[in-house]
Symmetry: C2
């Protein structure tokens, strides 16, 4: 029996060989990586340039994927497919034409906003009086629909999630957040986790939630157990269906710790409104890196998931959604 | 008796000699010009470069002013002082540090948003569920306070006006809008005009409203009469006080008509959500250009304003606010 194709629908690693080795060790067939959080268009072009050099220098381990077919072919060659995405719409710079430009460069998944209100939508640090903006926000979603960029609401607030679902003519995704009903809502820890009714609506419309073991969004934080992670998968499968759940670990590594300030405050504040920790979160001992994915699959087997179920959760579901999402709108 | 110093606190002319001649003909001592509506930081630098060349080539008519003292000196030399401003915060590119950078380049007045919701505030095309954004919007206003950039709410929606007033630690301005109670509110014509209670609060806090004869915000549009304009000045003086009203004509000329699409839709839409007219609005026959300012002052005299009143309305009030606003925060 061959291992299933694993798709991790959100990581933000520093692009370097050590990460690709972990991917290989874990049998990870595809990783959706983040090009931009607060980076503008020009800076994002440089990030793409950096990845292009990685593809050239580490072609034994990774290759750039722009489609579900690419992912399958790259994974079949024993390498990891790298899929480009943004965790914000900053790089569009309020220019509707940049949606197509970045699609041409391979960007396939874009989060509408990262924590705060921008010109497109409101983030999970905002209250729900704010949502997707009536002009540019709506235009951007329809333009992403048109060209084939999957709308991601992982870091939006709840209202923006509902707004995006209503505006989008194609399925949308929660690439990396957990169900807050399962985790328990804690404003300091996991504002980005999503309520059950929103996840249900997203998945009923053909979307997927990528469940993750990032300590900040898990019950127990760094002490979360694999059993609890597998219980969350089971809990989610019952509510949202086996075809609608998948992985989005939010794994990152390799950055200097100063990057936390960049991620939290970008350039829009002198200081982060949230306290900046002095170290990165410690990953749980059963998921020190993506090299530990086989153990997670075994945990799901132990929980009673069938091989067919596991193939869907591990990568089949994301591949289905990618196939539906990355081409031009019908 | 010498003519009073005239300050027009908003024009958006194409930078060319014909305009400077009109300013001279009208005895205009200072014009607040627009560098950026949707232009980003880099593009705005080029606009500044363009103005710098104008200052060098037309030094007989214009000079760059960065302070109230500069304005008085330039006007006393028989030339027109050009004051830099933005009609949007696009050029800050969500970078708090660019506030000081643009202040260093002479930018002294910045409108929080132009019609739509951006990452700072909501514009007058949005409903009042939206306002100044809790993170970046608040930070930008405080940073403008700190360095000495006057907050302008001319094109914001009403809620953003109130929010800005509450957040700002220094007086704010409405550089170019009229009282909607006087004009009559018409959603198609003059969304940007402001309600009496907001104008009252802005002016009681030390701010000023710049009244204008731009047809789109006037009763009767292009057929508005000078008498009606002077009646509006009188109506406003009664309610807001003679120290709080001034001029903000919103005069523009010299651009190709295609620029209307740029002003309306920037790059954020393929088409403007509002119908694009095929020609520019026709200015009323008593204000074909700023060369007609002396006639307006005469109209105010005929209406019964004293020379002292007229000196305040024409320029004294703006100069007072500029003197209070353009230096570092106490």
């Amino acid at each position: 029996m061959s291992e299933p194709l694993i798709v991790d629908c959100l990581q933000h690693p520093k692009p370097e060989r050590e990460r690709y080795m972990e991917w290989r060790a874990g049998g990870v067939g595809c990783v959706h990586v983040t090009l931009s959080i607060w980076e503008n268009a020009r800076e994002t072009l440089s990030v793409i340039g950096r990845w292009n050099r990685q593809f050239a220098e580490h072609s034994d381990l990774i290759a750039h994927a722009k489609s579900a077919d690419d992912i399958e072919a790259i994974a079949a060659s024993g390498r990891t497919a790298v899929l480009f995405g943004f965790q914000n719409t900053t790089a569009f710079e309020d220019d509707i034409d940049l949606v197509e430009v970045f699609h041409s460069l391979g960007v396939r998944i874009v989060l509408l906003t990262y924590n705060t209100q921008n010109s497109v939508a409101a983030g999970c640090w905002e209250d729900d009086s704010l949502g997707v903006t009536p002009f540019f926000g709506k235009n951007v979603i329809k333009e992403m629909n048109r060209h084939g960029i999957l709308v991601d609401i992982s870091h939006t607030n709840i209202k923006s999630g509902w707004d995006a679902l209503e505006i989008s003519e194609r399925p949308i995704a929660i690439t990396h957040a957990n169900p807050s009903e399962y985790i328990g809502f804690d404003i300091e820890l996991n504002r980005r986790n999503k309520p059950t009714d929103l996840i249900k609506a997203v998945t009923e419309a053909g979307g997927i939630i990528g469940l993750g073991m990032y300590p900040k969004i898990m019950k127990g934080g760094s002490n979360a157990t694999m059993e609890d992670f597998c219980n969350m998968v089971d809990w989610s499968a019952e509510r949202f269906g086996i075809d609608s759940i998948a992985f989005g670990t939010d794994f990152y590594d390799g950055w200097p710790v100063e990057n936390i300030t960049w991620w939290r405050a970008g350039r829009w504040a002198r200081q982060s409104p949230l306290k900046i920790p002095s170290t990165f979160s410690e990953w749980p001992d059963w998921f020190r890196s993506p090299a530990d994915f086989p153990g997670v699959l075994q945990g799901l087997r132990d929980k009673g998931f069938t091989e067919e179920d596991i193939a869907k959760i591990a990568g089949g579901n994301w591949l289905r959604l990618f196939r539906e999402s990355f081409g031009p709108q019908a």
